[in-house]
């Protein structure tokens, strides 16, 4: 892991999932910062301006969608790439997520490559 690797902010209230995503992203060559809830995710996103923000939708305090809205409302963070992940996988949920301004929506459970490929495309795409 080196400092030059792109920084990914990963937020999920389920520690097992958070650890799993972190491991997979680190193996794919990224630096990962973890956030256990929405508040922390928003603070870290503002502070670190990560290359990609991976947000779980259902989190305590601030939900992923609320964090996303806050990021989009702020000029400093408006351009951040955001991936919403959620076990709510109905079309309406996906639509809501994309309408809220997410760049992508992944329904849990997903395979590790689905996430790492998506992140890679976003990072490479600039």
């Amino acid at each position: 892991m080196n400092d030059a690797a792109p920084l990914i902010l990963c937020a999920d209230d389920d520690p097992d999932i958070l650890a799993l995503l972190t491991l997979r992203l680190e193996r794919a060559g990224y630096r990962v910062v973890q956030a256990p809830d929405g508040d922390r995710a928003l603070a870290l996103a503002r502070e670190l301006s990560p290359a990609v923000v991976v947000l779980d939708v259902m989190m305590p305090r601030l939900s992923g969608t609320e964090v996303l809205a806050a990021l989009r409302a702020d000029a400093a963070t408006r351009e951040l790439r955001v991936i919403l992940i959620s076990a709510r996988a109905q079309e309406s949920d996906v639509e809501k997520g994309l309408a809220a301004g997410a760049d992508a929506y992944l329904a849990k459970p997903f395979q590790a490559p689905e996430l790492t490929d998506l992140v890679k495309r976003m990072v490479d795409g600039g």
């Binding site: 097992d16 996988a89 109905q90 459970p109």
Partner: protein
């Protein structure tokens, strides 16, 4: 004669019920006795009259002794009929011994008048026992009838006696009969409206009371023309006989279920009754005008009409209020249902979340563990992985079924080509088929295969049918897929040479959770939801899905979707 107490609800509809043998026998004997009454000399008639009356008292008392409920009512009837028979006997004594009619008033009148409170007291008890007079509305109906009938009684029977000659007591007695008859009439109406039409015993009772009242009224209209042994006697004698038969019929012992409705239904009978009450006053005026040419009674008729009108209006006002109340209750119930529906959707969504998150952890970590596992552990982990996948498929299916059930199956319709959709499904199923050693053959039969469908959903149906066909095929088997057009439909057919479906089970194949015995015998895994879901999706598109045996064994599934116009 059946002597066991009958304990069952009475028939819902009025029907011609046949009285029991005991009461038929008594009725027949009674009719014969009445016929005899008209054939014998006058003096013997009086004795015979009392004999018939006594037989009635005996029958009612006998019946009452056997009653298990409402016994007091029938004892009251027996008591009332007894006093009437005593009056008959006294009257007969005057006729035979003193050779004249009893004067008015006399002890006879005392006993006759004593009869009435017993009779309508008994009917009141019966009605109360049957739960027929518990509500305000039932009381109001009775009151309306009372006022209307009271108007008639006053005008034709009571008021004329006010100005009649004779002592005050004599006039009082003459007025007491029609007044008591009024009460008996109201009791009669209530009896008809509640239980009278439905139980043999009560039907007999209704006719008994009716004969009695009609006899009294005819007598009242033509007191001066009354002769002992005249035809009017047959009404009173008939009443005795009917009363006795009513008590002897075992249906009197029926434990009639109480009607638990708060408000009696506005049956045709009740409507006719209310209309009759409203029309009483004009009818009285017309009768007075055309038939009886003496003193009209404008005040009595006007007051009667006014009171009936007010009562009927409040009766209907109550009805309208009740209906409005019911509507409001219905509205709030609907609101609650919508709220429950919303809660259910939320529940389904939450369950979805709660089940999928751990499944993600399971498959994610199993994936990681496999990297470091030896060959044996890897086999185990693959089993874990496969079962996690099955669990996920089950969760998804259940969620989908929940959505179908709640009617929330939404389609995103778009133009598509069914041949293309099937082609995609076939290529993605190819690895699975290869693993199972099954060959997939897709044939495009030609014709326009354009459809207007939700691509994802129809893809789901095709995937399901193809994976079923692979699952049920033997190794080295072939699955034939055909896409074609026919009569406004685009058809897609999947045939396998697998284990087939027993004919008896073919109809149930598309039911929720149904699994064919052949699948169960071979322990082929599945939830029994795939075809149910497929059918729901196809039907949501206005299409059809069916199963049939494939030529040369195996089964064939046909999906037909409306062709794009």
């Amino acid at each position: 004669m059946t002597s066991t107490p009958v304990s069952e609800p009475f028939p819902r509809r009025a029907q011609i019920a046949v009285p029991s043998r005991a009461s038929i026998a008594y009725l027949a004997a009674g009719v014969l006795a009445i016929a005899v009454y008209y054939l014998i000399p006058a003096d013997e008639q009086d004795v015979w009259y009392v004999v018939i009356g006594l037989s009635s008292v005996a029958s009612v008392a006998l019946g009452a002794r056997r009653m298990e409920n409402a016994r007091l009512a029938w004892y009251l009837f027996a008591a009332g009929l007894s006093t009437s028979v005593i009056a008959d006997a006294i009257s007969g004594y005057y006729e035979i011994v003193l050779n004249r009619q009893p004067p008015v008033p006399s002890t006879t009148d005392g006993f006759y008048l004593a009869t009435y409170p017993f009779l309508f007291g008994g009917i009141y008890l019966l009605l109360r026992e049957r739960g027929a007079i518990r509500t305000r509305v039932a009381g109001l109906d009775a009151l309306i009838v009372a006022v209307a009938a009271g108007t008639v009684q006053w005008v034709f029977f009571v008021e004329p006696n006010l100005h009649a000659q004779g002592s005050a007591v004599a006039r009082g007695v003459e007025m007491a009969y029609p007044t008591f008859d009024l009460f008996l009439f109201i009791a009669l109406v209530e009896l008809v409206l509640s239980v009278g039409g439905r139980v043999v015993s009560y039907q007999l009772l209704v006719f008994g009371v009716l004969f009695w009242v009609i006899g009294d009224e005819i007598y009242g209209l033509s007191v001066d023309n009354y002769v002992v042994g005249g035809w009017v006697d047959s009404l009173w004698l008939g009443s005795y006989v009917l009363w006795g038969a009513a008590a002897l019929d075992p249906s009197a012992r029926m434990r009639v279920y109480r009607d638990r409705r708060e408000v009696p239904r506005l049956t045709t009978a009740r409507l006719v009754l209310l209309a009759g009450a409203l029309l009483t006053s004009p009818a009285v005026i017309l009768v007075e005008h055309f038939w009886r040419h003496h003193s009209p009674h404008p005040k009595a008729v006007a007051i009667g009409a006014a009171v009936v009108a007010v009562l009927v209006v409040s009766r209907f006002a109550g009805l309208v209020r009740a209906v409005e109340g019911a509507r409001a209750a219905e509205r709030s119930a609907n609101q609650r249902l919508r709220e429950l529906d919303r809660l259910k959707d939320e529940f389904v969504s939450t369950v979805s979340h709660e089940l999928r998150t751990p499944l993600m952890s399971i498959s994610g970590y199993v994936d990681l563990a496999r990297e470091h596992a030896d060959a044996e552990s890897r086999t185990y982990l693959e089993i874990v992985e496969r079962n996690a996948g099955r669990l996920l498929a089950l969760v998804n299916d259940l969620l989908f079924v929940a959505r179908i059930q709640s009617g929330a199956l939404e389609l995103e319709l778009a133009e598509a080509d069914l041949g293309e959709l099937v082609g995609e499904s076939v290529s993605s199923a190819q690895p699975h088929a290869a693993t199972n050693g099954v060959e997939l053959n897709l044939r495009l039969a030609g014709g326009a295969t354009g459809v207007h469908v939700d691509r994802r959903r129809i893809g789901q149906v095709v995937d399901n049918l193809v994976s079923n066909a692979i699952k049920f095929s033997p190794e080295g088997g072939e699955v034939n897929l055909t896409v074609g057009a026919a009569e406004g439909f685009v058809r897609f057919e999947v045939s396998d040479h697998g284990i087939g479906i027993p004919e008896a089970e073919r109809d149930r194949l598309f039911e929720r959770f149904f699994r064919s015995s052949t699948a169960l015998d071979r322990q082929i895994s599945g939830t029994g939801l795939g075809l149910y879901i497929s059918k729901a999706i196809v039907q949501a598109h206005g299409g059809r899905i069916s199963a049939s045996p494939a030529p040369g064994g195996g089964s064939s599934f046909l999906v037909e979707l409306p062709a794009r116009a």
